[in-house]
């Protein structure tokens, strides 16, 4: 699927790393409840938001993602007790750092979505897609070859 760089018909590619226990299940619930959100979003399942390394996020941008979302259990509800607390620190620092380097903050987002929040999952994915569609294609951190 070649990414069309023309703004008018631009459809962003959004990669969502979802923890298995809350956010991925929330995504499943969005499905079972037949909610809709844009097909731009592609989910990668990880056990916990604390499994998501900055390397994966940077790699995604490099390979052409226009937006990256990390989604995990709400703080305090982590299946592994404390994983998302560590993730919260790691990603807040990364987010601020990427912004410091000139990256639009909207392009890298972190959300807490529980297994019961199918609606929230759909809403987050829709909003994110809309925002990033408005920003246009990502050229920063991207491999231009």
């Amino acid at each position: 699927m070649p990414v069309n760089l023309k703004l008018q018909s631009f459809e962003p590619l959004i990669i969502a790393f979802c923890c298995n226990w809350c956010s991925y299940a929330g995504g499943d619930l969005a499905g079972t409840s037949r909610m809709t959100y844009p097909a731009n979003v592609r989910v990668i399942r990880v056990p916990c938001s604390s499994r998501v390394s900055s390397n994966f996020i940077l790699r995604a941008f490099q390979r052409g993602a226009d937006g990256v979302v990390v989604a995990g259990c709400h703080p305090g509800d982590c299946h592994y007790t404390s994983g998302n607390y560590f993730a919260r620190r790691r990603f807040l620092l990364l987010q601020r750092f990427l912004e410091f380097l000139g990256m639009e903050p909207e392009r890298f987002q972190v959300h807490w979505i529980s297994a019961s929040e199918g609606n929230r999952f759909a809403a987050v994915m829709t909003e994110t897609t809309d925002k990033i569609r408005a920003l246009g294609p990502n050229r920063k951190l991207r491999d231009t070859r």
Binding site: D28, G31, A39, P47, F56, G83
Partner: protein
């Protein structure tokens, strides 16, 4: 080159309606390493599964991708399918093209495109999947129960009845715990001792239970199925074998100290059994108050003992034992009321805590069950009960509800009337909480049949006035400030965690909440398990609880322990972290982020330039690791990797998804 097979499910019309199955199958067939692609109406059906099995065998597939519903739904099904065809189940990947695709997108072209991308991603990951095997961990078929109250007693009995050996460790000289201090129990008003004592005796006589009273757990190492505990049997100074429990020693003992069991309302001797029904019914010498030990004088008890059981030279004994499971049932304490001076507790003898009141109405208590005022030994006529003293109080006490006070205050109001039909009970309450079987009925009986006057409101202050206690409070329903001349005031002091609970938690590697209660693994679905595998929780050490709840939780904890002990081996989740020692720098960041204490430090020896060199590296205990992968991210060089979700696999997924 891999030989990957892709199987696309229609899920009836669920997927097929929005995803062009033929198009997807064709695209999948062209993906790298894919040598076989097919589709079927219901992949999870018998026929669908046979299709996969056949293809695995016929096409010599070494990886399988099933594009169907969520892996949370049927991953295990397809794992079994692959295993049945002789393929390691961990070589199967699922592409979720239903919940994450066909069900959430309307446009067929878009959904088809996305389905292809998801399959491509799964294929890319599958190509890097490795065979994984669950390891077997042998289980030590013995349980340790810490705490000999009703929770620990119940858990020990249940596990022992299931045929496993149990060691029950109790810190005080006797088992029985808080329940032994109680008089009657709500809502049935049966006598606490009458229902507890037989259980205590059963523990003592059970062939599978070894009782360690006056003992403490000092250290716990190991992990689920393989704990090793160090238990200190404190010197009792009395020979358990020789003593007959005749009681001459404590009759003769000249030292008197406040009785812990009787909430300091009376004195006990330095050599004592805490209460008449104690198990074992063998005294201990409290060396801190015994003249033999404090002043090196005396020796009366040794002279008096007809069995020659007194042994001043006895020393602590330290045992090391192995266990497969641990049940923690260490109970609770009562909030210290120093900050609640307005109630004059500790200043006036007739202001009591509910537990003290319990001793005063108990027939084995200081007054032989005749409820008398400590000040002048007269029967009280007006008794004011004040609930929520320190409970639901985030300023001076504990923000939580202590849960049992509403019920025991009603019980006390009833017991008061039963002792003295002319006496009047006043109960100040904020809210009445009677959520339990027959609880509301019990509370109403206290009001309607036993005439307790319930006042919704609080007490501002208790003013001792001559031999009366002037209680100033408010009845908020009538909107009047009220004054009651009471003979006795009883405070429902909040329940709190044992003050040394955090130490025990550290020792066991389990966690506590902000109030030092032990935390359960999941508040709804795993309420009797601690976060650390193999450790279970029972009773008020996990949060305020009444007796039936404690007993249920204890039986639940016991059942969980029995499930564990009845296995010869434990199968571990193979998706756990592993350390590449050659990459490991030994910074040990992974240890810091592991919620399960599953990573440890180890020293390895290497030859460098011909020299044998020792260096530290991290090591994952696969039995403890739950596979969250937090350690992998803390590891900068990528020496720690999570099997099933390796750096290589996720990177391949990212690359494939972006194509």
């Amino acid at each position: 080159m891999r030989r990957i097979g892709v199987f696309i499910c229609w899920c009836g019309t669920n997927i097929a309606n929005t995803v062009n199955i033929e198009g997807v199958t064709e695209a999948a067939g062209k993906m790298p390493s894919v040598i076989y692609a097919d589709n079927y109406k219901y992949m999870c059906s018998e026929i669908g599964q046979s299709m996969i099995k056949e293809a695995i065998i016929k096409e010599k597939l070494d990886r399988v991708v099933v594009a169907a519903c969520s892996p949370r739904m049927h991953e295990l099904t397809f794992f079994k399918t692959a295993a049945a065809a002789g393929l390691n189940p961990y070589l199967v990947e699922i592409a979720n093209i239903r919940e994450h695709c066909s069900w959430v997108h309307k446009d067929k072209q878009e959904a088809t495109g996305k389905a292809i991308a998801l399959i491509r991603t799964a294929v890319a990951k599958a190509a890097r999947n490795k065979e994984l095997w669950a390891t077997q961990i042998p289980v030590e078929c013995r349980a340790l129960v810490i705490g000999g109250g009703i929770g620990g007693i119940q858990a020990a009995l249940d596990i022992a009845d299931a045929g496993f050996e149990v060691d029950l460790v109790e810190r005080t000289p006797s088992i029985g715990g808080r329940m032994a201090q109680l008089d009657k129990t709500f809502p049935t008003l049966d006598c606490s001792a009458c229902i507890l004592t037989p259980k205590m005796v059963e523990v003592a006589s059970h062939h599978n239970i070894t009782l360690y009273t006056f003992s403490e757990v000092e250290k716990v190492d190991g992990f689920v199925g393989n704990f090793e505990a160090t238990i200190r049997k404190k010197a009792r100074s009395i020979d358990l074998e020789k003593c007959t429990g005749c009681g001459i020693c404590w009759e003769k003992c000249p030292s008197r100290v406040k009785s812990e069991f009787d909430e300091a309302l009376v004195m006990r001797k330095a050599v004592y059994v805490p209460f008449p029904q104690a198990v074992p019914n063998v005294p201990v010498i409290d060396r801190a108050s015994c003249r033999r030990f404090t002043r090196e004088k005396c020796g009366i008890c040794r002279k008096a003992c007809p069995a020659g059981a007194v042994n001043y030279d006895q020393e602590d004994e330290v045992l090391q034992k192995k266990y497969g499971a641990i049940v923690v049932a260490t109970g609770f304490d009562i909030l210290d009321l120093d900050d609640f001076g307005e109630f004059s507790y500790g200043k006036h003898p007739d202001v009591l805590t509910s537990l003290e009141f319990e001793r005063l109405v108990n027939s084995s208590g200081p007054t032989g069950g005749r409820l008398l005022r400590p000040s002048d030994q007269s029967p009280p006529k007006n008794v004011v009960f004040i609930q929520c003293v320190g409970s639901r109080d985030k300023s001076r006490g504990k923000p939580y509800c202590s849960k049992i006070c509403c019920m025991y205050s009603a019980k006390h109001a009833i017991l008061l009337r039963e002792k003295y039909p002319e006496a009047q009970a006043y109960v100040f309450y904020i809210d009445i909480r009677t959520a339990g079987k027959d609880f509301e009925e019990f509370h109403r009986r206290a009001v309607e049949e036993y005439g307790a006057l319930y006042l919704k409101g609080s007490v501002g202050k208790v003013f001792p006035d001559g031999d009366k206690l002037l209680v100033k409070g408010v009845d908020s329903l009538s909107g009047h400030a009220v004054e009651i001349e009471a003979d006795m005031v009883v405070l429902a002091a909040a329940i709190k965690a044992k003050s040394d609970a955090p130490q025990l938690a550290r020792l066991l590697g389990i966690s506590t909440d902000t109030h030092s209660f032990f935390t359960e693994a999941h508040p709804k679905l795993r309420p009797v398990e601690a976060h650390t595998a193999g450790i279970f929780l029972a009773g008020a050490c996990q949060g305020p609880k009444d007796i039936p709840e404690t007993v249920s939780q204890a039986s639940g904890a016991a059942a969980k322990a029995i499930i564990l002990l009845s296995k010869d081996n434990l199968l571990s989740n193979p998706c756990v972290s592993e350390v590449n020692e050659s990459l490991c720098t030994g910074c040990l960041s992974c240890i810091k982020v592991c919620p399960y204490g599953a990573v440890a430090e180890k020293t390895i020896e290497e030859k460098i330039h011909g020299k044998a060199l020792k260096r530290r590296v991290a090591e994952v205990n696969e039995a403890l690791c739950q596979g969250c992968g937090s350690c992998t991210v803390s590891c900068r060089p990528g020496a720690v990797n999570l099997k099933g979700f390796t750096n290589e696999q996720i990177m391949a997924e990212v690359d494939a998804i972006c194509l």
